[in-house]
């Protein structure tokens, strides 16, 4: 079809959909939730990566990577998740397993390291990530955690994130379980009581009774929320939090942006959970609903409409007890828009009609980006994600033009192919996608961990548009094509 570009691998064909109109052949959305094809050069990471990025922003905990050096080295200070206080999360701790540890086991080494780090840094909790080879050599990480917890009286939580045991999403789940286990230390576990495991909870030294709370109906009536899946990249979490606080809504806990162990343990106090970045946190929201009866709403903080909806949704939720919230919410949105829209109008003409390819980690991000781009008058001609679910792709299909390429678990060659075929002007992705765009001489916007300017919230809409504008209107795209 295209000269010099190899065909899409046979084993991957069902994960690429060129026309969502082709429902007759069962090809309306890409197949998904499959392991990557060997040798396909997937952009995905691993289970460990999923756990690490979700728990990473918890700044007063130490994160020990139990494994050989690579896993810790590659994730050292990897996310721009800001903290207003301690910055323990920006350090890289590893048991640095070597040959003998692998032969004889490394439980003792883990214990020694953790003991030393706890006494040096006085963290509020410890997360211990089990990487690939721990799953093979059979270290009993859970046992080491229990021992450490008894010795030091702080939560020491194993995160089972052996890389080969699935994809990034499975890592999100492992991280959610770790967060849940933190909360259960304060609130007990409905589930475990049901299963008759409550006696063990009482032995938990980090679960002293003065700290243990029970969901109180009074606190639930006060408008209070948790922000799940908000990681405070570039301070975005603070921005979002400020909107809700302006309305008088208490943000009990941000999970896990600018995270503190005590705040996370307090999370079940909240009356409502807002879940952004569905891939990582819906599991936790469901569990919290199950355990402590906290309802949840799925939201996005990207784009004017979505941001406004996320604010109105909360006001609506508390309407019975606090009817004044809706008016305040409207006033807030009006105020924000009055400064945003005129600025946006100035740069929109340069963006209108431009063709964009989106390739991001989660499907949720993909479709929330499609919506914003539409607001800017831009066309999404390629939309894909590493780990989107069936629901995500259904949603993409619903909101994209019918000849938009939808792709699951793509790779650089495929992206290069779509960019050429669709004459894309700009790619939105992360660091791994950047060189595909740049080598092909088109614009790029990083919507991933490394962003340093907030792209969420109302001001984020402008920042995002401006970043697109800066890249798309650059004279370098002309120069890069000029012959000598």
């Amino acid at each position: 079809m295209m000269p010099n570009i190899p065909d899409i691998l046979e084993e991957r064909r069902s994960q690429v959909v060129y026309s969502t109109d082709d429902a007759s052949q069962g090809m309306a959305i890409p197949t998904c939730d499959k392991p990557s094809v060997a040798g396909s050069v997937s952009q995905r990471a691993c289970v460990f990566c999923g756990s690490r990025v979700v728990l990473y922003p918890i700044a007063d905990a130490i994160h020990i990577v139990h494994g050989p050096i690579g896993c810790a080295g590659f994730t050292w200070d990897i996310r721009g998740a800001l903290s207003s206080g301690p910055e323990l999360h920006r350090k890289s701790f590893s048991t640095n397993l070597e040959e003998l540890d692998i032969i004889f086991g490394a439980e003792k080494k883990l214990h020694t390291l953790a003991t030393r780090l706890i006494s040096t840094y006085k963290p509020q909790a410890v997360f211990i990530y089990a990487t690939c080879i721990i799953g093979l050599i059979g270290d009993d990480v859970d046992r080491v955690c229990r021992i450490l917890e008894k010795e030091h009286g702080i939560p020491v939580i194993p995160v089972h994130s052996e890389g080969f045991k699935g994809v990034k999403k499975d890592g999100y789940r492992a991280a959610c379980m770790a967060l849940l286990s933190l909360m259960e230390r304060s609130w007990g576990s409905v589930q475990k009581e049901r299963d008759g495991a409550s006696s063990e909870e009482k032995d938990d030294p980090s679960c002293n009774s003065s700290e243990a709370l029970s969901p109180s109906p009074s606190s639930r009536q006060e408008p209070s929320i948790n922000l799940l899946g908000e990681f405070n990249l570039a301070g975005e979490g603070w921005l979002i939090k400020s909107y809700y606080e302006r309305l008088g809504i208490r943000v009990v806990s941000m999970l896990t942006g600018d995270g503190r162990v005590a705040d996370i343990r307090r999370a079940p106090e909240a009356a409502l959970n807002l879940v952004q970045c569905s891939g990582s946190m819906v599991y936790l929201a469901k569990k919290m609903e199950e355990q402590w009866g906290i309802p949840w709403q799925q939201v996005s903080f990207f784009g004017v409409d979505e941001m406004a909806r996320a604010i109105y949704g909360v006001a609506e939720f508390f309407r019975e007890s606090h009817p004044e919230l809706l008016d305040s919410a409207r006033a807030l949105v009006r105020e924000e828009l009055s400064s945003l829209l005129p600025r946006l109008e100035k740069i929109k003409p340069a963006l209108e009609g431009k063709k964009v390819a989106i390739y991001v980690g989660g499907g949720f991000k993909a479709w929330s980006l499609v919506r914003i781009l539409r607001d800017f008058g831009m066309r999404t001609v390629v939309a894909g994600s590493q780990t989107g679910s069936k629901e995500d792709y259904e949603e993409l299909r619903r909101i994209c033009e019918k000849d938009t390429v939808l792709v699951d678990d793509s790779n650089p060659l495929e992206l290069g192919r779509f960019i050429k075929e669709k004459q894309v002007d700009l790619l939105i992705g992360g660091v791994k996608e950047r060189p595909v765009a740049y080598k092909m001489g088109i614009g790029f916007c990083d919507h991933n961990h490394e962003r340093k300017i907030p792209l969420a919230g109302f001001i984020g809409v402008y920042n995002f548009a401006f970043e697109l504008y800066q890249s798309i209107t650059s004279p370098v795209w002309d120069w890069v094509r000029r012959e000598l």
Partner: protein, 514 residues
């Protein structure tokens, strides 16, 4: 050429001393609790990363990491942040079942799919911690695949991250290439047979001519160079130097273009350039081989392997940074080629000598720390000594002994020119947490190291001159020239200007002349 009689590889640096030479002392920090208790902020990365960089240096070269998907993605992301170039790395995509039933199928599918997508000419298949722990026989698995893909050179290499760091993995891949070539039938190295088995258990194989004599007379020799973990600018310098001596100098694993290329406009996955097929086919016909910064690993260095197979002159030289080590490099090329050192090179050298004089007061007795790969640290320390600074602290995540032994030799060479009462602290196999403690204790005022030293440098308020790998927080890492007289001048400029800038910024007067 004439009189060279090479009995073995001339190991410039890593001949193990039998103990500290009398009259000299190096402080070697012993850190027992570190070795048993893990790492805080690592100074090193894992071996597969080095293999990926090496295989990227071949025309149509790509790597498959045999293990779970995360390893290849992490390595890619890390390298992309440094080189700002595409680095496509495949994975055999281990899943849970593979760890139980073995990953042979995965490797075979990965090789097939990589060939279908990239039409590569060289595929490195490097192992990860996971499959090494399982004990996968990567050599056996790949052997079976050779017949199916005769047009592709498949190079298996064992690179367990729990044994080797990124610098060592890079060298292991260099050696693996030679081993594969020596055991494959189609390498152009003559009709002799030899069936010795070496330490790694790989037969020496067919087609090796153990009796080959070095070329004699005026014939222009071809020289192979196995580089250190160098920047693309460094590799370009190595290649250019060959021209000065009118010899064919080939960098084996030449990523100077593949990891530093121009616009593509169509995404092909692999950049053009890299060590050519013809070069690979004639590696064993080279007249001489030079290894740069080769470390003393269990597996012989590439220069040693070639020497054992073909008896050509082989030498392992330190990274040519500073006058002394660059002189050594130039003299060696001059002697190999039979040409005198040309005037263009002498002019560069003279400019550097002059710069040493101009710069000496800015740096005299300045306590410096150097952190990085062992070979790079040694050469940077040598350079700092030459300009009158004091590399009071030399640290590396590596621990092969190269750095320690090199420093001892350096001290011996300097003899009574060695600064009085100067006892550098050498720290091998360390992490940044410990480096930071020592930098504070030793009163260091300038750090030479990678971007990973920034957090520490910021905490301590000490200027950092970025060099080596990785450079994640500055633009243009590929263009940093470290080697040769020009590279040394470049480093000198960075060092002196870092000091001036700090002085100027903090000085209440705000002087405008320095």
């Amino acid at each position: 050429m004439g009189n060279h009689t090479y009995k073995g590889v001339l190991n410039f640096e890593f001949k193990k001393p039998t103990g500290a030479s009398p009259g000299f002392s190096l402080k070697e920090e012993e850190v027992p609790e570190k070795s048993s208790g893990g790492v805080e902020n690592p100074c090193h990365l894992c071996a597969p990363l080095g293999a990926v960089v090496f295989f990227a240096g071949f025309e149509g070269g790509i790597t498959i990491l045999h293990g779970s998907q995360g390893c290849s993605t992490y390595v890619r992301r890390y390298l992309i942040s440094h080189f700002r170039e595409p680095v496509d790395v495949a994975s055999s995509n281990f899943i849970e079942a593979s760890t139980i039933f073995g990953g042979k199928d995965n490797v075979q599918r990965a090789i097939g799919n990589v060939i279908r997508q990239y039409t590569p000419k060289v595929i490195g298949i490097a192992t990860t911690c996971l499959v090494e722990t399982m004990g996968e026989d990567i050599y056996g698995i790949v052997k079976e695949m050779e017949a199916r893909y005769p047009e592709v050179l498949l190079i298996p290499v064992s690179t367990p991250g729990f044994l080797y760091n990124h610098r060592e993995g890079f060298q292991l891949a260099q050696s693996a290439l030679l081993r594969v070539l020596a055991t494959r039938g189609n390498t152009d190295i003559g009709p002799h047979h030899k069936t010795d088995t070496d330490a790694a258990g790989i037969p020496f194989g067919n087609n090796v001519d153990p009796l080959r004599e070095p070329l004699k007379g005026a014939k222009v020799p071809s020289v192979l160079l196995f580089p250190n973990f160098a920047s693309p600018a460094d590799l370009r310098w190595y290649k250019r130097v060959g021209e000065f001596f009118d010899i064919s100098l080939k960098v084996v694993g030449d990523y100077s273009q593949t990891l530093d290329s121009g616009p593509w406009l169509i995404y092909r996955g692999l950049a053009s350039g890299g060590t050519a097929q013809e070069t690979i086919a004639t590696l064993f016909r080279a007249d001489a081989v030079i290894g740069i910064g080769s470390l003393p690993l269990k597996e012989p260095s590439p220069a040693e392997i070639l020497q054992r197979y073909t008896h050509i002159p082989a030498v392992n030289l330190p990274v040519p940074i500073g006058l002394g080590y660059t002189d050594l490099f130039m003299k060696h090329l001059s002697s190999l080629s039979g040409h005198p050192i040309p005037s263009v090179v002498r002019e560069e050298r003279a400019r550097l000598q002059d710069a040493y004089v101009d710069a000496h007061k800015y740096v005299a007795t300045l306590p410096c720390a150097v952190v990085g790969d062992e070979d790079l640290v040694l050469s940077l320390a040598s350079f700092l000594l030459e300009i009158g600074a004091r590399p009071v602290f030399c640290a590396s995540g590596g621990k092969t002994g190269y750095l320690r032994d090199g420093m001892l030799r350096l001290q011996a060479q300097w003899g009574d020119r060695w600064p009085q009462n100067f006892e550098p602290v050498i720290l091998s196999g360390t992490d940044f947490q410990h480096v930071e403690e020592l930098i504070k204790r030793l009163g260091v005022r300038l750090i030479l190291g990678s971007s990973k030293a920034y957090t520490m440098a910021r905490t301590l308020g000490i200027p950092l001159v970025r060099c080596g790998f990785p450079i994640h927080d500055r633009f243009g890492a590929s263009q940093i020239l470290h080697v040769g007289y020009e590279g040394t001048y470049n480093l000198l400029r960075l060092v002196v200007n870092a000091l001036i800038e700090q002085e100027q910024e903090t000085n209440p007067v705000g002087y405008t002349y320095y």
